[in-house]
Subunit: 279 residues, 4 copies
């Protein structure tokens, strides 16, 4: 029996957990996992509940909305794997990692296609029988024109999430806005350190002893969206920018997969520019 | 306002969270932190709730007990710092770490005294004006005789916990039994690897690439009690048993302090030979 | 210009580095990386030197042998990628990881084939156009009979290393002996903790707060060969044996790849039951 | 027998190791540890050698200088513990950690005194019988005036290193210049992220999932000197800026102690704005 996932965001007030658990209990639904968080600064209340049992969730959402404070957001997640489109460029490691995870049934998502501005990853996608779209970006072309061709592919699939797996192009605010809250990026640094281009080069120049990777939702401000997951590895003076990049790839793919797993299991709330994660 | 901490262990059944939060809400108490866990194997339900507000906790415990299934254990923790006695031997690092943490008000405990079978830590305790008891153990003496002298010191203080901070002697089952669930030990290995004597020597001989430390409750079975916290650090072929021991001390003191903080904040439930920790 | 790798093991005596670097310098070879280690317990001297430049390495080996103490072992590694055969069973993650790394040119090895006692990984190998041999092991069959069929496949390829990528069968001493120093295994625990079968089940039962993986050379003593690499991840009371296994797979594949990279780059000396690693 | 430590910085050229080890061998000195590094970008050669044996090091330095390329820097470190002065402010944890390490003989340095702009750490220094100088900084006073009083204390002791153990004041370029290469600071973030004031507040606002600490040499550019050591710990949405600061203190003191140990054991070369570390 796959549990239903109930997600609640609400202004906090005493008794919310009691109210929610009461409505669930009254329907003979059984809670199998539960997490709550009250943000002491914003006063926001966040609750994620997994339950099993019979009665109709749609009806349940209505009852919960009535019982909760004005402004509460109540949602029961549809019980099917999330659809994702992977955006790649030339580097294969993150794209390959996600393709393998689907093939091995390690994460429960459905990769609809891979889109790239370079053709080099096509054979990789082909190994896993995943459609590949080469959408080249001419230097002379403006971003909007390129993105309109991306959008025409996206529209064919209507994915739940767009996953930027080392897609090295900056997206326009219009594009980001259109897929607001649905774009996940892996940045090859421990943000906010080394935002922007060539983070390993920057890390090498600065002489840091640790490098990192950051998975985040994409917002209009480049590399400044809500952070989902981060990880780091040690480096020494003997690393070059190139060897940092090589070793960094190991954590890039892990952090992206971790973040994506959290997102598609509906464990991530976005609150302002932060994430609240029930894992 | 310091929150009250409510601890519940109970056989699981649907609606327990609703029941507990309802009783709390009915008294206009406000929950500020909450954690629950149902063990899928044992069917045990564990709940730790922090609440603030007026009415008498004693009365609350009675009401909760009535409302919960038979066999439920309900407890509200007294609101004062835990008293501890530190047992040391010759090595100063763990003892010093705890003395400093009290002096710096980093952990909210009260060190009543330090007891050791060697006199060498006496000046350290004196720096922090903590009573020191040298209770030597003659080689000819049996353990019970030595422990009876330890007990006479312990009885003067009636501590909440006995903290074995690199106390290198094995305790008798009688002693362990007498202070059951109240003795915390730091073992200088990543248990269950290298239980028993000279774990760094064993680690060196085995050629491991990582060494660790384990804080656990002491039970009659040596080094087999419920684990509270563990941590590790990398080592290489260039480490000797001695340099492993030197670097290992860094994590020994950290792991012991982490575990002790969890215990004195009443975040640790013991269930069989495992711990359930709400942090 | 790919550097030559010179590997020296010798009884230690004063002046060895001077002797070796002198012979290299006299041939106008240029050292680009260098590591030495003297084991203070065994008195063994280990040196790994990367050099570039013209004169013939074979001749160099002879000169070095003459100049070094009796018992010294001198070797210059052939400059071609190592050949490996992967042994799998049912679990795909480690096998897939190595196949992807070859496809992405992340590690410089040549996977000659995949051998498994189960057919389930055949489609995975096929995605990467790697020969797959299903060598089933009948329950009634003795190990030697099964291994003789493995050996007939191995003999066709004559690999440098056999990589046990979650191959779940115990090998006979005869097999291990035949491929002595050439078999690398990934064990799904932080050895020596939880050797033998079902380590995640054992870890769950013990209630550890950290789980790990260990890559090691295979010797006749099960799970006791020289350790090459280890890594760990934290777990909590909320993990089941099954979820430990799921998360453990993440480090299993990383640790195996790390170890294999070290081995095929000739960075690993074996000394007794330990490894000395120049990374 | 405590080894001598030989430190060489030189423009690289073939045969340097051979030259150096030859001169050492010719004097019947025995190398017990050795590390070299050639920076592929700058062409700088760095060598750290520990040797034991009889003949006079002063003479050895002269012979090495003659044999090495123009511009080479050769130094044999005096064989006595380094003298340090600790600068504190109000927070006790880093200062206490260093005092305890000296008392426990964990690091081989000699703390000459503690200087602070606040009186609050005086009792802590007194516990360890270390002189304490309260040098208050009036708000109206300019920095140079305050620093001249600091300097008058420093001059009495002539320390090898000044250790800023959460000393929260910015030093003038004149002060930094005067003690160039001798000032070590602990910054409470994973630099270059969150440089400047209130890094935990910044980290909280940004919603990072990892926080860190950085020990570095102080240069005129605030928080931009050569990094010696860094470490990180995970945080979640449930952390406040205050609880980040509390947990961050644990790594601040560890990173500072690690860095200081490396520096006083003469394992750290500074090259441009980076460190080269032989550990």
């Amino acid at each position: 029996l796959i549990p239903h996932v109930l997600l609640i965001t609400s202004p906090d007030q005493p008794g919310l957990i009691h109210t929610v658990t009461g409505i669930i209990a009254s329907r003979q639904l059984n809670i199998v996992a539960n997490g709550e968080f009250v943000d002491p600064v914003t006063g926001g209340f966040f609750m994620r509940t997994e339950f099993v049992g019979g009665s109709g969730p749609a009806d349940l959402v209505l009852e919960l909305r009535k019982a909760l404070p004005a402004g509460a957001d109540v949602r029961i997640v549809p019980q099917h794997p999330k659809n994702i489109i992977i955006f790649g460029s030339k580097e294969p490691h993150c794209v390959a990692d996600l393709l393998v995870r689907q093939a091995n049934a390690e994460i429960d998502f459905n990769i609809q296609c891979v889109i790239s501005n370079h053709p080099v990853l096509e054979p990789l996608a082909a190994r896993f029988n995943i459609p590949f779209f080469h959408v080249p970006a001419a230097e002379s072309e403006d971003r909007t024109a390129h993105e309109s061709r991306l959008i025409s592919v996206i529209e064919r699939y209507r994915p739940d999430y767009l996953v930027l797996a080392k897609y090295m192009r900056v997206l326009t605010p219009q594009f980001v806005d259109r897929f607001c809250g649905k774009i996940i990026n892996i940045h090859h640094s421990f943000l906010p350190a080394f935002a922007g281009a060539q983070p390993y080069r920057q890390a090498y120049e600065r002489g840091v002893k640790i490098i990192g990777a950051t998975a985040h939702f994409v917002t209009e401000a480049l590399d400044e969206g809500p952070i989902i997951a981060q990880s780091v590895i040690p480096v020494t003076h003997a690393h070059t920018a190139k060897s940092m990049a090589q070793e960094g790839r190991e954590i890039e793919k892990i952090v992206l997969a971790q973040a994506l797993k959290l997102v598609i299991e509906d464990r991530v709330f976005v609150s302002g520019n932060k994430t609240i994660i029930f894992d």
